[in-house]
Assembly symmetry: C2
Homo-oligomer: 477 residues x 2
């Protein structure tokens, strides 16, 4: 990673500063790319990159045939406060409601703000199909052959290549292809822990982690999250002082459900803190490619000097949801152990699918696809926040995610999220209730909403209806 | 399952009896199909089926344009005796050599009698490729969508449909698609056990089970195997009396490494014994479709009345090795628990691959393919036994498997199998040493040989060389 800020980024930052201070008014027209390049003495491509970055951040917008404009702020609900989970460890027990929610996530006939998946139309389906056909043709012989269970070398190389954009240099022989990011995290936990061990997690956290931890008989201590800057390192330090923490699970870049990206300086501090304490980090980078810049994508692992950060990812959120069942893990100093565990507990994947994915990663226009995805998601999230601002009860707060497509909505204290979930189901709408994201009884007035799907009149109406139902509950109706 | 023996089977049994008693001499020509049908007053198709069954069993052979003949017995080595493992439970620890063997299994540049996989040429690669292309075309939209993690309904239905040929009636909603049979077994163990629990296993047993058990901190008690009839039910009963056995793992149909098929009556007794004791059976049916008849295929599960038999399978051995990463489990009374564990620890598979497999199972000529595979395997195994009979040291014994393509070779006591493995590796040949198949120090003079690949002059020479190397060790050279 370069230590100096790239030119386009410092230019983008300067323009963002002018917009934030009001020097550039909302709706103001920006100089053309050529004019910008001349005004600042930079190349045209640097100017283009600066504008793209600002578009991705939602600071400016391109209007066809008119140029670039500063976006108008809208009346938006405030962001939730830093969370305050209890400081003691709790044996992880997934709530019964979680199973019910899980069972519904794949059901047709619902308008879903549930599963954290984007709409199928946003991915290059035809490109994926062709890559699969090409792979099956080129590697037909493999259809009649067992593969080694750690993944085909081409995919492991492609993963190691992609990890460079996270600031990480991985030897592809240490990369293990898994059956998805959940398996990656489970393998890491298994390599690190015994039943009863304490793991520090973000609060709120992705419920899949809680399921895996329950399955392994682990205890969790929840660490506060700041909606703008992520995991509270101060609180983690206190927890490390007072609890026998064996490992930390975190999603430093585009967390779930909050969508937070930790500032790079915090990522570095986190790496240093854990190195000092000799505690492992399981770093989930599943949504890192949805972050708006290379800088934001940078992994905690890139600051790791002694192999204590285990990196887990997949391409289900960013490339081909239907090719899930393909995740990966590079487990640092535990690489050999994780490879052995993988071989012990599950077979290898389908090699033709692995080759297809390698092909898509290396030659499939992955980066252009990402830029498009990010733009769509930013717009869809923006729309959701505006609807929430007008249709949800007074006092509602909602995150302003730095990437990804999920929103964490904090409703007035009087709204029970499980009751809201039930009323939504009656209307054939799915939202995920807040208590799923914690081991304690927190977040009873929160829901996670997925804004990954493009908006339609039907979806807009459905989200407004969620707001009205929440209002009914708030009023005791 | 019909309780009466089908006509073709009783006819085949009668003819086999005549051949066994010598009434039909080796080399004797059998009546034509038409003559047989007239002589026994059965339809032509029944006569054809009877001859096919006898062909599959290796009792008779078809010679092109000449008709059917009783096969000549050859000078073959004797079958090993019943195994005698120690009766006490042992904490499972996979030997270091196992990792080395595993790493080599996928390596090119070796002549492999290692991995229990057949040669790629034996599978309908082009058919698989087309099914995959069709599936990706028909379900293109799914490439951009997450699936539920338990498998697409069409595949679960196809699996339930196929299970009928094992005498089992499975509700497809209880079938969970897994990442291979290893994951299926692991999920069952996880649903049933805590670390330290005792599991009864066949001795020798498939080393993959041992790896999974080690990973879960389990103890194993090994039960003797009779090379002709499989697991000793008497010994299991004694073990159940004296040890706190939590579950049994068995491969009653085409066991690995012995290739044994338990007689149907024994399967029934096993089911009844375990029902009386309230002990669960994890029944691995991965190679059941390689058994020569429906009768032989019949699962212990078909006699289960209270949901204590968990069925685990895959199609990697019988349909499409390259589509591995697709196994299944139907866990009886633990179905809901296993489904939850699956969701907790790993994501779903690639749905286009699952649909392709469903298509192949339902419309891909699976049964014809199986008949061909069985014929090839029987011939290949036969050839291997003959080579072993002539090229291996005096005193060598080898199994006469009822199905499948692996052989269990018992060398003279003076031959250390790990030393033999090492000398073979120097010659770029892979065999799997016996100690991998046990938790104790048994089987030091045994190796497993895979005869799944078609013979070539090179492979024949290699197997003879293995025999010579074993002879060298036997003579202390």
């Amino acid at each position: 990673m370069p230590t100096e800020t790239p030119l386009y980024l410092s230019l983008a930052d300067r323009l963002a500063g002018l917009a934030a201070s009001g020097s550039l008014r909302p709706g103001a027209r920006l100089p053309s790319v050529r004019a910008l390049s001349e005004q600042h003495g930079v190349s045209v491509s640097t100017a283009v990159q600066a504008y793209r970055t600002l578009e991705d951040r939602g600071v400016i917008e391109a209007r066809p045939k008119s140029g670039f404009f500063v976006r108008r702020p809208r009346s938006l609900p405030p962001v939730p406060a830093t969370t305050r989970p209890p400081a003691r460890p709790v044996t992880v027990e997934v709530k019964a409601i979680a199973d019910a929610v899980y069972d519904l996530l794949g059901e047709p006939g619902f308008i879903s703000f549930g599963a954290a998946a984007a709409a199928e139309g946003l991915y290059g389906i035809e490109r994926i199909r062709r890559a699969l056909a090409r792979s099956a043709q080129a590697h037909a012989g493999s259809l009649g052959r067992y593969v080694t269970s750690l993944g085909v070398p081409e995919l492991r190389q492609a993963i190691s290549h992609r990890a460079m954009s996270l600031g990480c240099h991985l030897d592809h022989r240490d990369v293990v292809v898994t059956n998805g990011c959940t398996e990656s995290v489970t393998l890491c936990l298994r390599a690190l822990t015994q039943p009863g061990d304490v793991i520090a997690i973000e609060s709120p956290t992705y419920f899949g982690f809680l399921r895996a931890m329950q399955g392994l008989g682990l205890r969790a201590v929840e660490i506060p999250m700041q909606p703008r800057t992520g995991l509270s390192i101060e609180a983690l330090e206190v927890a490390l002082d007072t609890q026998p923490i064996k490992a930390v699970i975190a999603v430093p870049t585009v967390s779930n459900p909050m969508g937070t990206i930790m500032p790079t300086a915090s990522k570095k501090r986190l790496a240093e803190l854990l190195a000092r304490r000799g505690v492992a980090l399981i770093e989930d980078v599943i949504c890192s490619d949805l972050a708006p810049s290379d800088e934001a994508r940078r992994a905690v692992r890139s600051f790791d000097r002694d192999g204590r950060v285990m990196l887990c990812g997949s391409f289900g959120k960013t490339l081909a949801p239907g090719l899930r069942g393909i995740g990966w893990v590079e487990a640092g100093r535990w690489s050999a152990e994780v490879a052995n565990l993988k071989r012990s507990f599950s077979g290898g994947g389908s090699s033709v699918v692995e080759w297809a994915l390698a092909d898509l990663l290396e030659h499939g226009g992955y980066d252009q696809g990402l830029r498009q995805l990010r733009r769509h998601f930013a717009e869809q999230v923006d729309m959701a926040r505006r609807i929430i601002g007008t249709a949800f009860p007074a006092g509602t707060r909602v995150t302003d995610p730095s990437g990804g497509y999920v929103l964490w909505v904090e409703l007035p204290r009087t709204v029970d999220a499980i009751e809201l979930y039930r009323r939504c189901i009656e209307q054939r709408i799915i939202v995920v209730p807040g208590p799923l994201f914690s081991t304690t009884n927190r977040y009873r007035n929160c829901v996670r909403l997925n804004a990954g799907a493009p908006w339609s009149a039907e979806r807009e109406d459905a989200l407004r209806l969620v707001g009205r139902l929440a209002g009914d509950i708030a009023r005791g109706a």
